[in-house]
């Protein structure tokens, strides 16, 4: 079997990195996985530099030939399933090397097809995603001391927020505006329901909704990146967490104030 070309290998590695980074993987993991892919297809000499918004990958074949590619990452959404699956795929590649080397063209074609399949796949239909958003919101409402009727309202709001997040994120809005709009919508829905149903405490319902939006991923990744020595990504993700938080506060605060001014 013959080795695949330098260009092809760097394309595969970059595609692997792109999927993991877009789904919210840590910088360290993206670099490690790209290195493993290059190693698997027989190119030991690879250097990469990854930030949350772009990947730089340079691959050499030991002689004078070098292939360098840059990939800009535009939109990111949390998808922990994809990170897991791609990691598993790359580790399977690693296991293959120990048995029989080198990996040739057929293996690379399979690998690419698997990547495309993982990238396209949606493991759950939309209604399951929306219901689980509702479950998160509702059970957090109960956790912070809500009653059953508040649980029902928070569940409904969570479902509606998950549904509308899907459509808001299709618009060309940035992360700040996305979270501000979503949290404003939470407060608007909660206040509207409050005018119909008496004797409910809005605080727990709104907090339940906000828990869907809190930047747990950005916080975790910021710390883990900084600890593994990727200072650029660590700082960038820390700022991202801060911006998301400010967006949540600005959106819900503005809506609460508007509702007060209207005098209901």
């Amino acid at each position: 079997m013959n080795k695949i070309s330098l260009q092809e290998c760097s394309k595969l590695a970059l595609e692997t990195g792109r999927i993991i980074l877009q789904s919210g993987g840590t910088t360290n993991r993206v670099e490690l996985m790209m290195h493993k892919v290059c190693q698997g297809f027989g190119f030991e000499d690879s250097e990469s530099f990854v930030t949350p918004t772009g990947i730089f990958l340079s691959l050499g074949d030991g002689d004078e030939q070098i292939s360098t590619r840059i990939k800009r990452i535009e939109q990111r959404r949390i998808d922990l399933g994809k990170i897991t699956q791609v990691s598993k795929l790359v580790n399977a590649l690693q296991a293959d090397i120990h048995n029989s080397r080198p990996l040739g063209e057929t293996r690379s074609r399979d690998f690419y097809q698997e990547l495309v399949r993982i990238d396209r796949e949606n493991p759950y239909p939309t209604w399951v995603i929306n219901l689980s958003g509702g479950a998160t919101s509702g059970f957090f409402c109960l956790l912070f001391g809500g009653s059953w009727i508040e649980f029902a309202i928070a569940f409904m709001i969570g479902c509606l927020i998950s549904l509308s997040l899907k459509y808001i994120s299709k618009l060309p809005v940035n992360n700040f505006l996305l979270n501000a709009l979503a949290s404003a919508l939470i407060v608007l829905l909660a206040k509207t329901i409050d005018t119909w149903i008496p004797n409910i405490r809005l605080d727990n319902i709104i907090i339940g909704g906000i828990m869907i939006l809190v930047p747990g991923l950005a916080l975790t990744n910021a710390i883990r990146d900084t600890m593994s020595g990727d200072l650029v990504s660590g700082t960038a993700r820390g700022v991202e967490a801060l911006i998301i938080t400010i967006g949540i506060v600005a959106g819900s605060g503005a809506m609460l104030k508007v509702w007060d001014l209207l005098g209901y």
Binding site: S87, F140, I223
Partner: protein, 151 residues
């Protein structure tokens, strides 16, 4: 104030468990992992409540609870062939200070700046504590793995 290990703690554990299951399904996690992230989330909140009962110190309880669940994720994620960060992201969610953030915002809007600054301080301290706990466990694991690799 609830006693530890009575049915109220158990119920709180169940709510956190179900909430985190919802969260991990929403981020497309599949299979048995969903169950284990939910278990981690429940463990996180329950251990926070129990430690809070004995020590009466919020930050210490957050710190210890996060350390506990980070160790849990490091162990279980490796067993399930999952990236550790995937687990950590899901299990810390119950302690992320969404509640004090909301109260800070509400106090700020109604003009009570003393209350607002108290809640903002809480929010910052809790996030800082969570960050510190994650950092400690991540570096300790890194160190242990390197040492084991060497010898």
């Amino acid at each position: 104030m609830m006693r530890p290990f009575d049915y109220l703690t158990l119920m709180q554990f169940a709510w956190a468990f179900l909430a985190i299951i919802g969260f991990s399904v929403r981020s497309n996690l599949k299979g048995i992992r969903v169950l284990f992230t939910g278990l981690g989330g429940g463990l996180c909140w329950a251990s926070y409540l129990i430690i809070l009962y004995y020590t009466k110190s919020m930050l210490l309880s957050v710190f210890l609870a996060i350390i506990l669940v980070c160790i849990y994720s490091e162990v279980v994620a490796r067993k399930l062939l999952t990236p550790v960060s995937v687990f950590v992201i899901c299990v810390i969610i119950p302690l992320v200070p969404g509640r004090s953030l909301y109260y800070a915002m509400r106090a700020y809007i109604s003009g009570q700046s003393m209350q607002a600054s108290k809640y903002i301080f809480d929010t910052l301290m809790i996030s800082g504590t969570i960050a510190m706990a994650i950092a400690i466990v991540a570096s300790a694991t890194n160190l242990i793995l390197r040492l084991r690799h060497r010898f």
